[in-house]
Point group: C2
Chain length 585, copies 2
């Protein structure tokens, strides 16, 4: 037997017991006659004591232990002379009488401490050592807890987990698929699912009624910092529901998760229309932990002789409370921020509402103190506040102002990761125009139901049609999205027509789904929540990578196992494939 207890469990009540422990040497200290070793496992750290006076041989052996050696010890639980309130086992130590080295360790390439000296690359290459570090381990434990509690909740309200296939069919619509050549069907390929979308809809046609799955999905996209080629979704679908049922169900789930996992009571779970979100926050995923809503400044800024504002479709302002004391340097930095290519504004106008009732703006040449007072009145700015103003074409300036607002939120400490502000964004547009391909794309996906009352506008004013689609947003992050689906073959066909599919293409790619709609498909809808993102939100982190045991880097590589890699020619031959790249080996 390798242990009677783990390293986190012994307390004063165990004093006098003989125990066996196994674990890793965290550190050791030689103090003259005594040697102390901190023994670590997943559950905690227990101090081991070796006495040079009473057992010189054993103590000498202990002194040779290196960091990260795996050892097994036997000994007696004794009271510590100097207790450590900072650790759960701090009242006791083990007076060791037997020591066995189960495995030695080379010196790790970085320290296995909460704050490590290892850089990102090294930590990823030795991910199995990085995972020993408490902050990283705790992130995966949190992920486990979230997955268990998600399942418990959904199970308790009669959701059934059904596994959908991973080897499916490639569909050119949407993001790029990862494909898998079929050896048994030469020249043919499976695709890895970007989501189980069509399968979960078929399960509704089957009558499963309430489906969920915590499932890996795959997208072969050019990776951004926070994207992974494989990612995990909490994927759900319900039949015989309206949008309201889905919102309530998943609002309930998220409340449950916050309560049981973080002991946090979510208060408000407001709803906002997409159009309002764009108007007030310039984003379909507003961070509503703080206000700073957009104010349309056109009425008080235009026709005052300032050509830039006069020419602008929209002059939009935000009020940064208490920021009138911003220095010239700080204001210049804000201007630099909005002028970065990623934001793309041409400039920024400010107006300080000084404590003495006067105003100081960067456009004093064009606006009198009375004009600026009108700005302040219009924007609800008070003495001590700072008004920041951008102008331009409506859609663009809103996006720019969204960036500036979030930036100001950060600067003013209004985006506390311990505060959680969830939100439903409703009534997304059904379609968005793609300039490049000169056609409409589905904003959510081609299975999303238009608002029934707008069905008549589908062909005449497609851009104006709203969808029964919704996003769950928490702290400015899209945690999930979903929609009521089309369950009528005719409407589905009209959608495919709108999206530029020929009848043949639609039938070849999604015929099975449209056929299924002819055999009694119930009204249904669902949602998919990004599980990696949810974990990082709960963990108070911006990066999802830490919440994935073995993540890939920005080139889609697993640097630890060194994948992807060339494969044998025999494997290619069996698959009837040849690589055409120069870079092959």
């Amino acid at each position: 037997m390798h242990r009677t207890h783990n390293c986190g469990v012994l307390r004063a009540s165990n004093i006098g017991e003989n125990v066996t422990l196994s674990g890793w040497v965290q550190r050791s200290r030689d103090l003259g006659g005594m040697t102390f070793v901190d023994l670590r496992d997943r559950y905690g750290i227990t101090q081991l004591a070796f006495n040079m006076d009473t057992d010189a041989e054993l103590c000498t052996k202990a002194r040779k232990l290196g960091r990260e050696f795996v050892i097994k010890i036997q000994g007696e639980v004794i009271e510590r002379s100097s207790k450590n309130d900072g650790m759960a086992t701090g009242d006791i130590e083990i007076l060791v009488n037997a020591l066995e080295v189960l495995n030695e360790s080379k010196t790790p390439p970085f320290t296995i401490e909460d704050k490590t000296d290892g850089g990102d690359d090294l930590r990823m290459q030795y991910r199995y050592l990085d995972l020993r570090r408490k902050p990283v381990k705790n992130k995966l434990m949190l992920r486990h807890r979230l997955s268990i509690e998600t399942r418990k909740y959904l199970d308790s309200i009669e959701f059934v987990e059904v596994e959908t296939p991973y080897l499916i069919k490639s569909t050119p619509e949407g993001a790029r698929d990862f494909v898998v050549p079929s050896r048994m069907n030469p020249g043919q390929f499976y695709a890895l699912p970007q989501s189980p979308q069509t399968f979960k809809q078929l399960l509704m046609v089957s009558g499963f009624d309430r489906y969920y799955q915590i499932v890996k999905c795959f997208r072969d996209e050019d990776l951004r910092a926070d994207r992974q080629p494989e990612f995990t979704q909490i994927d759900c679908e319900m039949a015989f529901v309206e949008q309201e049922d889905i919102l309530n169900t998943f609002e309930g789930m998220v409340r449950h998760l916050f309560k049981v996992v973080l002991d946090h009571e979510i208060q408000d779970f407001p709803r906002m229309y997409y159009d309002d979100a764009m108007e007030k926050y310039g984003s379909d995923k507003p961070d509503i932990r703080f206000g700073m809503e957009f104010v349309n400044m056109n009425p008080v800024t235009q026709n005052k002789g300032f050509a830039i504002f006069d020419a602008a479709e929209l002059v939009v302002g935000i009020v940064a409370k208490g920021a009138a004391n911003y220095t010239r340097k700080q204001l210049d930095a804000l201007t630099d921020f909005v002028k970065r290519p990623q934001v793309g504004a041409k400039g920024m106008v400010y107006c300080k509402c000084n404590e003495d009732g006067s105003f100081k703006s960067s456009v004093d040449k064009f606006y009198s103190q009375e004009d600026l007072q009108a700005w302040a009145n219009h924007a609800d700015a008070e003495k001590g506040d700072l008004i920041l103003v951008l102008s331009g074409e409506t859609d663009k300036v809103r996006k720019q102002m969204n960036e500036l607002r979030l930036h100001m939120g950060d600067q003013l400490g209004l985006r506390d990761p311990k505060v959680f502000a969830p939100l439903w964004v409703l009534d997304f547009p059904l379609l968005e125009w793609d300039e490049e391909s000169e056609r409409y794309h589905a904003m959510h996906h081609p299975f999303t139901s238009p608002k029934p009352e707008q069905l008549g506008q589908l062909e005449t004013h497609p851009g104006e049609v709203k969808a029964n689609a919704y996003d769950m947003v928490i702290n400015g992050t899209e945690i999930g999205g979903g929609s009521i689906r089309i369950h009528d073959r005719g409407i589905q066909q009209r959608m495919f027509d709108l999206l530029g599919f020929t009848k043949e293409e639609a039938q070849a790619q999604f015929g099975f789904l449209m056929n299924a709609f002819e055999y009694g498909a119930p009204p249904h809808g669902g949602i998919a929540l990004g599980f990696d993102r949810l974990c990082s939100l709960f963990g108070g982190s911006d990066s999802i990578r830490d919440f994935i045991a073995f993540p890939k880097n920005n080139s889609g590589r697993d640097v630890m196992i060194d994948a992807p890699a060339p494969i044998d020619q025999t494997q290619l031959d069996e698959l009837f494939l040849a690589t055409t790249s120069k870079e092959e080996e």
Copy 2:
């Protein structure tokens, strides 16, 4: 709102309530003034009543409903005049006052009944309709229940579910990998995991201690009737354990599952050495629901002048209790059975132990009544029993006798699917000799630990070395298998040497694991249970396919979505791939 109740929940206590139900039309009957419709959903069936006398328009509408139409109704729960004890809702019916057709249905290609008229191919093509059938739906509900209870049990004993990657590296050892071309790394490929083996071992190196995952795995093998290219495992690993700890843990899990899912108490959970299993049952997965153990008949059958037995390495018998009354025809059929190419015996000898104390054998020419009495004594056969004997080369004849024993078990009704006889098979050989490649292969996998006391024989007598490997067998089916792993770099290197890897190959493919062993790898081991198989066992079925929502056929095709399929040339180009098959489109 689409429903206030589901179709399985209303009882006499609800009489008088106004309810809204939605579901599918299972069937309808017109009885003069009344029309009755059975409304079905996942939860059950509720009878709807339409009265021609009181609401002719509504009743006429109801009479036009076809099978599988999706409808929503409102009405009052009333007492049934003729109650139906056979259904949960049989005390009540709904007197309908409003009916809405939510979706129509074409006539399904097969009947949606417990016993359907649809053949396998049709049912697979319209799997979404097949899944509406109660027996199929219940199989997936059972699967859900098993997965929930598995997680609950493992969670309760501190196992952590950790998701391991699906896009990993191809390793030529073992079965064939499915590969995934990498667009961002031209000429390189990911592989889909055959199991998360190396990752779970790394998690042990990381200190996670107790890991599990219910996870899809992939093998590109030529499919047999009961194999799927993608399948699900309950994958587990533990650190600081010996074999005994693992056996106890997963015996506990299986007992828990039987108890909570089937309300069945597992009594014995015996253990058997691999060598004994082969000797007594000719199989490493014996069905011990019945005895009929092999008897070595060499001592009583050889040197009596029967050349075939005299020349045989092994003469082996089984006793079929009470089967002495087998007819000539039945015995001939048994002989035919063992002579089938799949079994491969040249013939079969029988000896009836008649009720009158006499014996009748197919080799009376060579054996006297006294000789046959000695057979009976040796084999513990009693009056009324039938002794069946095969002979030949030991390994072959054992395999043949295993087939015959299972066949007799079926014939004599000894293999009741409601009886569960679990078993651990222990001490598998570490290696098996492969005639074709003329080298040793790992019987389990290259990470399995040899018995420590046999390490010295590894290079001298590799074929004799046993492994710390074990299989869980229930009712003659291998439900899971695992081993204590190697955690020492040196021993792992010796294993790779034995298996014919060059140092460079071993380092290229498994360097990350061997490196990990140098940084304090703890003793560890684990097990993987076939989840599809476990579900079919619990469901009392031989086929795993019914327990998979969307299975593939024997050519690895999903006939419903028609995958795999050719992909666009642009997709191939982006992947720097060309297909070399004639069969491509």
